[in-house]
Amino acid sequence: MLRAENLAVQRGPCTVLADINLELRPGEVLGVLGPNGAGKSTLLGALCGELQPSHGDVWLDQRRLQDWPGSERAQRLAVLPQTSTLNFAFRVEEVVGMGRLPHASGRLRDAQIIKQALEAADALHLAGRSYLALSGGERQRVHLARVLAQLWPGGEGQMLLLDEPTSMLDPLHQHTTLQAARAFVEQGAAVLVILHDLNLAARYCDRLLLLERGRPHALGSPEDVLRAEPLQAVFGLEVLVQRHPERGHPLIVAR
């Protein structure tokens, strides 16, 4: 379990994140929503130890995150950043194989996991190609496969943090990516995902955190959070909330 207690992050004189009390529980997908600059990525950075909180602590199980030795932490917690700057001609399976660096599971097992992770990210057909020859969306899926491989098969106690994993993807792969996250959660892992698409959030998340200027505005089930009033208050957007005709989850349409 990943737990943030009274978390705050200061950047220069500005408080960019405050009053965050959050538990990421096994078996759930927690979505983080909010307008640009609301502090979503800052929250993710603080939760994975990349940013030093000015106040509060992050706990992974019973230990403070910064007290975890690097490789042990990496076996439990994986992070998919928004963009990647990889500029070297690795083959796709080599990139995914980097997710296995914290492990000593052996070449054969790693090759198996790489294949399964690529399959889960619907990128198996890219194997053998040079990373630099891929499109932006394909690269994003390869990195998804890399962080999946890092925690494969995603047992209890594994934490996966995804920063806008669908930002460059076509509609089909937006769904396959979040389905991969769901499949991971079925195995007992926990996923935190930053999203901009409210309908994807409604469909795939168990709980949602709505951030407004660095502070939590609402935290709860999609039905509780995705209502017209909080969305109007945070995004300044007038929306109509209906029920999905087949699945029953909220369906958000701009007015």
Binding site: G49, P102, Q150
Partner: protein, 345 residues
């Protein structure tokens, strides 16, 4: 851009190339030795008795001149290429050069101080001069690199972009100081200075090999232990941290290794450009960027290429000798341009 060769085939090819380069480097020169005699004399020098003919002359030339020179070329080439890999990994840029962090210019500054300062003091004692020169170069390289590293640090983290810019600034500053020394130097000193700035394997001796041998061995043993970390670093610094690597520590190690390696190489053979830039790049084109292969393969290729460049330096104007820095720049610079331009298509 897919790798074109399997690692095993590449290692075999590079091994053969190095053996050929070693053999030619021992055999050719102002006095060319028959290839077979070279081999026999070399074996005899290694303590393996060879039957037959009078090899005294070959043994003398080999033992006194060509062997130390060849070994020097081997070590300088290998360590420059290894440091090039380390820097390209650290800066996550395939066109980075070991000179970026100021080590080459620092070493040149140290050497200039020793050369001009020594001349001003009425000449250094003959026996110490080369050692003092190397020592000053080594200290200069380490000193400027330490300063660059220090300038790139803020709040306990090293910003490689700041480091790169600090390296450029300090290189310019060192260049100004070297220019000043050049201006102040008299004719004889000027000649030493010029030759030294262009690099040369001339004047190699066993005594000057030892420090470089130790440093090269340390770098060649240490960097491959960081091969996986270097791979992860190519993803990005935070990604490497998320994969469990102690990134700040690894960056410090890479800078230190490079300062040590390039500092020692420059101290032993002067400034030799482009090996550290071009060799890793070339090897990466052949087998891909995996550092577990890239590091040892670059060491082999760097050693071979430097020996071949030295052969050219020795033979083109024989019996006169071209500074090797000119040869490596003549080959390296057009190749570098080719690499830049081919990326545009």
């Amino acid at each position: 851009m897919n790798p074109v060769i399997r690692p095993r085939s590449l290692f075999i090819a590079l091994g053969l190339l190095l053996a050929l380069a070693l053999w030619l480097s021992l055999a050719l020169g102002p006095v060319s030795l028959p290839l077979l005699d070279t081999l026999k004399a070399a074996l005899r020098l290694l303590g393996l008795a060879q039957p037959g003919d009078d090899l005294a002359q070959a043994e003398l030339i080999l033992g006194q001149i060509r062997l130390p020179r060849t070994l020097l070329g081997l070590l300088v080439g290998a360590v420059l290429a290894l440091c090039g890999v380390a820097m390209q990994g650290l800066f996550r840029n395939p066109l980075a050069d070991p000179g970026l962090i100021g080590v080459s210019s620092g070493a040149a500054l140290g050497a200039s101080i020793a050369i001009v300062g020594g001349a001003a003091l009425g000449g250094l004692p003959e026996a110490f001069a080369p050692y003092l020169l190397s020592l000053f170069a080594f200290i200069g390289g380490l000193g400027v690199t330490a300063l660059v590293y220090r300038l790139g640090r803020r709040d306990g983290e090293t910003n490689v972009a700041t480091m790169l810019l600090a390296g450029i600034a300090l290189t310019a500053l060192a260049g100004a100081a070297i220019g000043l020394f050049t201006y102040l130097a008299d004719d004889a000193t000027l000649r030493t200075l010029t030759f030294w700035n262009l690099g040369s394997l001339n004047g190699a001796s066993y005594a000057r090999l030892w420090p470089l041998l130790l440093v090269t061995a340390a770098v060649a043993l240490w960097l491959p232990r960081r091969a996986k970390a270097l791979n992860a670093l190519l993803l990005g610094e935070s990604e490497a941290r998320h994969l469990g690597f102690a990134v700040e520590r690894i960056k410090a190690e890479l800078v230190f290794c490079t300062a040590l390696g390039v500092g020692a190489a420059v101290a032993a053979a002067g400034m030799i450009g482009f090996i550290g830039l071009v060799v890793p790049h070339l090897v990466r084109l052949l087998v891909g960027p995996d550092h577990r292969v890239l590091l040892p393969a670059s060491a082999l290729a760097g050693a071979s290429l430097l020996l071949l460049a030295d052969l050219a330096a020795r033979l083109v104007l024989a019996p006169a000798e071209l500074p090797i820095g000119i040869v490596t720049a003549l080959i390296g610079a057009p190749f570098f341009l080719y690499l830049l331009l081919r990326g545009r298509t």
